[in-house]
């Protein structure tokens, strides 16, 4: 007796020419059914859908890749874990256990790092706005404050005199690096002499000691040459400060901005091909710093704050199909239970989306929508995707950066976050929200109470 083939919905897909590139890269929808050996379906059954999942193994491996690439080229390295990229306690603690300091940009992040047990003198405090009480606490605690503008410089002087302390500080510098748009809104401009004026002002004020220079050339920088340029310019400025003011810096901070393996919406080559390795960034930065005019044993510590490249690849968003529909133009619309309120980065990236179960049937052009009753809730524009049934899981890759900090309680609650340990154990690191989490801070004015 012959068995009949299982019925699938009919699919007809027009062949498109010209979408291949010279690398031959093409979209492959190989299912991702396990994360670090744990079945996707098991995770969803236990913790609910949607669900963020982080791999401790990948977090540690990325950190070790980064430190290994730079330590072979520069004697003293410090990683500052960028809290804004992902400040979940368990994630930050993993990086701190690998030796990272904290890099924070607000009073909230500062408090969070201290609450996690980070010693204040292992915190780099960046950002354009540090309210006076927060700044005062950080200075008294001996955190490393990076001064962003002249008003902040004056405020640090005022606090130092009032409290009778002499803080060690850094200044943030902005500069023009080859091939990327200049970020001039943060720090003092190197090119127009503002940075030089800031140091002269700091030295004349005699209220603090300059021990570090910091610059951050941009975000998701795919061209390491920009870092070579920035490091060379910072090294040149450090040489000038040494000869003019006798300042011996203890660190130079090249900030962050290394790309993860995501693909920007406007990017031609996919992230897996275009993203430079840590080795290439290290080559560029250490080449630039080699122009420092100091004896080898006096070389300053190189500080990096590259959050995205460390955490993005370790994060997954698991979701479930809730509906399939046919759009007016013939494409398939697939609705899933995770929206742009959870996956904020879908506004920037063509996220890699994979089936979470083995699938059969022909892929067809598919638009992936979230569950929000909002037209902006589109997670992927047309991509080839195999047929999925209602309830089937799908997996977004490389979502560890910025999503669990920028997600919103918009229309839906925020879901649980799970960590898979190196031994395959898994545990909640943030439970799913409930109504009480959302309405807890609300108050009812007296005249509305009895309605």
């Amino acid at each position: 007796m012959t068995t009949k083939p299982l019925y699938e919905r009919p699919v007809l897909v027009r062949h498109q020419l010209g979408h291949m590139n010279k690398m031959g890269a093409m979209q492959v929808n190989r299912p991702l059914t396990h994360i670090d050996g744990v079945p996707v379906e098991e995770l969803l059954a236990r913790y609910g859908s949607p669900l963020f999942v982080f791999s401790e193994r990948t977090l540690r491996e990325r950190h070790q890749e980064l430190t290994s690439a730079f330590s072979r080229r520069w004697p003293k390295l410090r990683v500052g874990w960028s809290y804004k990229t992902n400040y979940l306690g368990a994630i930050a603690r993993i990086f701190h256990s690998e030796g990272s300091w904290a890099e924070v940009v607000s009073g909230f992040e500062y408090e969070k790092a201290v609450a996690l047990g980070v010693p204040p003198d292992h915190i780099h405090f960046n950002g354009p706005y540090k309210p006076e009480p927060v700044l005062e606490r950080a200075l008294v605690d001996e955190a490393m404050v990076h001064i962003d503008h002249f008003d902040e410089l004056a405020l640090v002087e005022k606090i130092a005199k009032r409290r009778g302390i002499r803080p060690k500080v850094a200044i943030r510098v902005n500069l023009v690096a080859e091939g990327i748009p200049a970020w001039s809104r943060f720090g003092f401009s190197l090119e127009n002499g503002q940075a030089r004026d800031a140091v002269a002002r700091l030295v004349a004020g005699d209220a603090m000691d300059l021990v570090g220079l910091h610059c951050h050339v941009g975000t998701f920088i795919l061209e390491p040459q920009a870092y070579r340029d920035a490091a060379t310019k910072l090294a040149g400025f450090a040489n000038e400060l040494r000869s003019r003011f006798g300042i011996a810096l203890s660190f130079i901070d090249l900030g962050g901005g290394f790309a993860s393996h995501n693909t920007l919406r406007a990017q031609y080559l996919p992230g897996g091909v275009a993203t430079p390795s840590f080795e290439r960034y290290a080559d560029a930065i250490c080449d630039g710093l080699a122009t420092l005019d100091v004896r080898p044993q006096e070389r300053p510590t190189l500080v990096l704050e590259t959050g995205r490249a460390l955490v993005d690849d370790a994060g997954y968003l698991l979701s479930s199909v809730v509906a399939n529909k046919r759009l007016a133009d013939g494409r398939r619309g697939m609705v899933i239970d995770a929206g742009v309120n959870l996956l904020f980065t879908s506004f920037w990236y063509k996220h890699e989306l994979l089936p979470g179960v083995e699938t059969r049937g022909m892929p067809e052009p598919t638009v992936v929508y979230g569950p929000l009753c909002m037209s902006i809730d589109e997670l992927r524009d047309t991509m080839l995707f195999p047929p999925m049934k209602v309830g089937d899981p799908v997996v977004f890759k490389n979502v560890g950066a910025y999503n669990v900090t920028q997600w919103m309680q918009f229309i839906t609650y925020r879901p649980a976050v799970v960590l898979i340990g190196r031994d395959g154990r898994h545990a909640l690191i943030r439970r799913a929200e409930q109504l009480a989490d959302v309405i807890g801070p609300e108050e009812m004015p007296p005249w509305l109470e009895k309605h």
Binding site: K4, L12, V13, R14, G361, M362
Partner: protein, 88 residues
């Protein structure tokens, strides 16, 4: 030329590769779509096409009529049949 003759002129392989000699366009079809297209070349009778699908496939819980209508709409959109084409 009527739509059934137009469908008969399409070059359709066993593996679901379709060539439209009028436009030069090529398509991929899954086995269900191949079966429907072959049935349509015989006649545009809705009941007959549905019976063919039931005979050829292990149909468990699908909405065959809905799927068939969607597929006809796709054929119209891709210019493989006229806008007026419909099942009897």
């Amino acid at each position: 030329m009527n739509d059934i003759d137009r469908l008969r002129d399409l070059a359709l392989s066993e593996t679901g590769f379709l060539f439209d000699p009028y436009s030069g366009a090529t398509f991929s079809l899954n086995p269900t779509a191949v079966t429907i297209l072959r049935a349509l070349r015989g006649s545009a009778d809705r009941v007959a096409v549905l019976e063919t699908l039931k005979r050829e496939f292990d149909v468990q819980s699908a909405d065959l009529e809905h799927d068939l209508d969607e597929f006809i709409a796709l054929l119209r959109r891709e210019g493989l049949v006229s806008r007026e084409f419909g099942l009897s």
